[in-house]
Symmetry: C2
Subunit: 691 residues, 2 copies
Amino acid sequence: MKKISTLLVILSFLIGVPAAARADEGMWTFDNPPLKQWKERYNFEPTKEWLEKVRLASVRLNDGGSGGFVSPDGLLVTNQHVAAGQLQKLSTKENDLTKNGFYAKTRAEELKAPDLEVNVLVSFENVTERVQSAVKAGATDKQASEQRKAVIAQIEKESGEKTGLKSDVVSFYSGGEYWLYRHKKYTDIRLVFAAEEQIAFFGGDYDNFTFPRHDLDVTFLRAYENGEPAKTPNYFKWSETGPADGEFVLASGSPGSTARLLTVSQLAYHRDVGNPMQKKVWTLRREILENYGKRGAEQMRQAGGGMRSFSNSLKRLTGQQDGLTNPRMFAKKEAEEKALKDELAKKPELQKIYAPAWEQIGAAYSQLPAMANRLAFSNLAPSRLGDIALRLVRYAEEIKKPNDRRYDEFRDSKLESFKFALLSPAPIYPELEEAALTAWLKEAEKTLGANDPFVKAALGEAEAAEIVKRAVSETKLKDVAYRKSLLEGGADAIAKSDDPMIMLARRVEPVIRELRAWNEEKITNVEASAGEKISKARFAVYGKSIAPDANFNLRISYGAVKGYEEDTTLVPFKTTFFGLYDRAESFGEKPPYDLPQRYKDGRGKLDLSTPLNFVYSADTIGGNSGSPVINRNAELVGLNFDSNIQKLSNRYWYIEETEGSRAVAVHSAGILEALRKLYDAADLAKELTGR
Amino acid sequence: MKKISTLLVILSFLIGVPAAARADEGMWTFDNPPLKQWKERYNFEPTKEWLEKVRLASVRLNDGGSGGFVSPDGLLVTNQHVAAGQLQKLSTKENDLTKNGFYAKTRAEELKAPDLEVNVLVSFENVTERVQSAVKAGATDKQASEQRKAVIAQIEKESGEKTGLKSDVVSFYSGGEYWLYRHKKYTDIRLVFAAEEQIAFFGGDYDNFTFPRHDLDVTFLRAYENGEPAKTPNYFKWSETGPADGEFVLASGSPGSTARLLTVSQLAYHRDVGNPMQKKVWTLRREILENYGKRGAEQMRQAGGGMRSFSNSLKRLTGQQDGLTNPRMFAKKEAEEKALKDELAKKPELQKIYAPAWEQIGAAYSQLPAMANRLAFSNLAPSRLGDIALRLVRYAEEIKKPNDRRYDEFRDSKLESFKFALLSPAPIYPELEEAALTAWLKEAEKTLGANDPFVKAALGEAEAAEIVKRAVSETKLKDVAYRKSLLEGGADAIAKSDDPMIMLARRVEPVIRELRAWNEEKITNVEASAGEKISKARFAVYGKSIAPDANFNLRISYGAVKGYEEDTTLVPFKTTFFGLYDRAESFGEKPPYDLPQRYKDGRGKLDLSTPLNFVYSADTIGGNSGSPVINRNAELVGLNFDSNIQKLSNRYWYIEETEGSRAVAVHSAGILEALRKLYDAADLAKELTGR
């Protein structure tokens, strides 16, 4: 189970470059698909039209996942766990959609997701030359950063005005390239079908990141425009049979973040400071939710999604850190860096310009450990209200500046999405808010000390419990209309609000700004300049032979459907419904191996030999959850939802399929079998298959 | 899948002793069951009658495995793979019982096994005092050995004459104890039922030593006496339900060999020389059979059993060697030995007598590496005819000596079993004999050199192919009557025989004798004397707190039925028929995951949720195959047939159940379900259950 982690993204920038791509390596951008590898390894030569159709049928779900259109009427498929946040927001004490699942027999019954934005990559354009040439010769890192920001804002604005599309300039190869990406945006997304979590996540945290696997991790949504189902002529035809053993397949989706091009000094920071700190924070946040969930069934329902999300992130992080702390693996990264430097040394004119970049990054990163605690704890992240307040306060400050001087997320091109998220009608649970924020501020105080600027700003002389109790109980931010009025009132209204949560946010925001400024000056600006140098050095030595690190934009990965060896035996390429019932029976249906009632009642209706899940060798990572897995005819044969344990450290390096690393998908035939036989969802199956 | 390996036994004697028994540790003799552990851990307090009944219902199959009576009419159950040798001997080109399985609907259809001897341990008696006191003070190792042999022969003879039972004096704790074991012997054993190898060994070498598992590794035999089914009032009642999760169970069987009490110098020899040599020999012998099997289907049938047996042995050996080459594990053995020596140092009067023993063994073993190739290759083992010839030639020599001076296997007490095996009517395949023996002698020549005494004796100036071709084609040893006539003609007839296989054996036997004498003088006599000392030192320091090493005599092991953690997930305690069909389907029924036709046709008849295999935490090893797994009421709930991969190095040390080490058994309910629904064997099921 994979979702992107935005927390890790903050600390992990993408620098340094290994040699040429291996085997099925690479999460490729659509401007540079690996045509040579496809032809040589799989005799696959897609047309331009094929690539365009696949791109336009693929979607990014801004909750943190991928999906694809599967009918001309806006129907799209993704994982249950990608939609889990929306399912929770649509649930009530009386009807828990996470637990019970959902199926809208008619369009009228489809439920509008409170705050889900879906994007389709409509076009892209290389703007590297324009961005890089905007940086004046002799500029400092800070000036360079400002000059880049200015030109990027300009490009986005021009494109937005010209096309009406959401236009973002995205950096690749650590600033080695810049591309303008134009997305079509859907914000009226409705829930059509969701499997029960018990079957979507059968086996729970234990089976997460393992194979053989038996999960129907599926949700169907429908994009609407102007109150009507969106017209989506580019969609994936649903394969009734799914993939054969050994078949070539591709995954089209938006992998969240890889860090394969980091320098050794950056990796060492991850290993020694960044990852352990991340583990500490996530463990704490999971504990906060666990403790809250113990108060009762309804509290457990409210906290459940978050707990599962942190458990998932922690299991993945453990696998990543196991890789990074393996001296043999780390030595490989050192050897790669040395090889590039050695090659560079043969070109003295380039070496002179580029070689200092590694030391610049090393010097920058040497300052990070001392700041790590402050950067991790100076925020109100565990509280949705706190987060809303902070975003409003920040908005008030930024909106006063000219477009090209604002924080990235407040540039004109992004304001619409910002407001959409801020004004979400999703339910807020004050009891949970209070418990989570109190525990968080207490831990911040414990970790940072009472004299820390953030702690002092947040608490003054008071107790966390007292501050938070008042802020949560008295804030009007629970009310969307109030948020809207503040937004419309603008900077002034926000600055003057006596809402206690806003006041708390106004107190801590200057500290957070200061930290952000420190981080930009000392770290990210250096990374951007040095990263560009290393990237250019890499291009000079090896050419553009490998894919850029993932950044939650659309990529295409590929490989073959195939099993692997584990210990001394074989793991098959697929599982069947037989295996689901075996695992449930073998554990006496003890949770997390219990089955939804319809699976117990409906066993006799199923053809148990129908495939349920399968594995394939493509290079994917968190964010690829929900990616359509397609065959060479662009038919959907599966739905990516996870990786196996052998693949977990692939954040830092590609892991060959010979090591048993595999992506895990729900089988298209298994989904159909369940829809038709267990869910009485013949209409939905018909929309997918035409019959 | 486990069978004992007699090859390894030769080189591995049992010396050195760790501290007290842990958790479910120990393959216990029936004179010293772990009553304290049973009571404390499982609240189990068996009566004397319980223990006696279990012992008398347990059988040892001298092909190398265990079993148990399951009806009052001589019916006994064991694994298909334990009976595989007999199945192959009963098979013909036209009817391959290994492949097709077998069921005798009536007693008249039961097939007599050609050369299977089954033993039941009827009584035992501690003769330590008598054996040890027979060794005179001041005797050299050689004299001590002769004195022990003499008294042992005397004890066996007295017992045999008095009881008519097969009477063997068996050494435990490396000579720390000697016991007289009296066995009732059955030699008329008939085949009642055998599962097809495809289902008995479903998953083949890949799934061997793994779990989850899906094997119906079952054969039923019937013991006859005087042409009638034997009366067996002590038998295990068949449990229709099998064990519950967490239930206390015991396994009663004959584990072949462990080497947990070896000294560090002996272990180092195993690790550095013994195991690699063993691997080389087994790999060669498997290759010989593989090459032969490639000639055609009938040749493959003839070679199949041997190939599987060597594959099994090699997979197990690899696991054992992986353990031994793990420095952390080896360091534990060093620490154990040091701890015992340190304790001994506190008792100077004992230290003086016992402490030199470790060095004596180390000095003896230091001579072994130089002889390892000669010891491994100076034999005719790959050829049944060569083996028969050698045994006859050896018999002729030994039978001339007084009883107490003969090789152990020719003592009066063992002659009956010797003759039974020698006169087996099992088929011999000359083409296979020729191929195997030729390849073997060629490899011996390559490894030992043309001037090696064994090679010179075997080949003289001729080519191996030429010598073997004549010996195999012209020998009359294929004819049981001829063997019988030689036996009856005695030493003189054998000495004068011009049978070319006998002549070959006569040429090489003196070399083999010389090596055996060297091994006895330099190694085993030293081990026996020094082993007794170390054993006494151990008793003095720790008492008799642990079980003796296994030696293919009856033991009782115990533990609980339970699953375990593996990597990050859970392995359940059992599998079901669902799992069998899942695995077959998931591999598209590609061998070794193909199913017998009756399993494909009969799927609809089965209750697929019936358990098929399960795991439990008892301490078992090769030789325990076929052991009845029983509950506290002495009901048979399963049939032991394997260990998982986590347990493989338990030859050298006990592995805690917390490490995931498990014994694997066929579930009693799964066997019944298959008998009733797939095999039309209602009568057999009724004999087991009464209904």
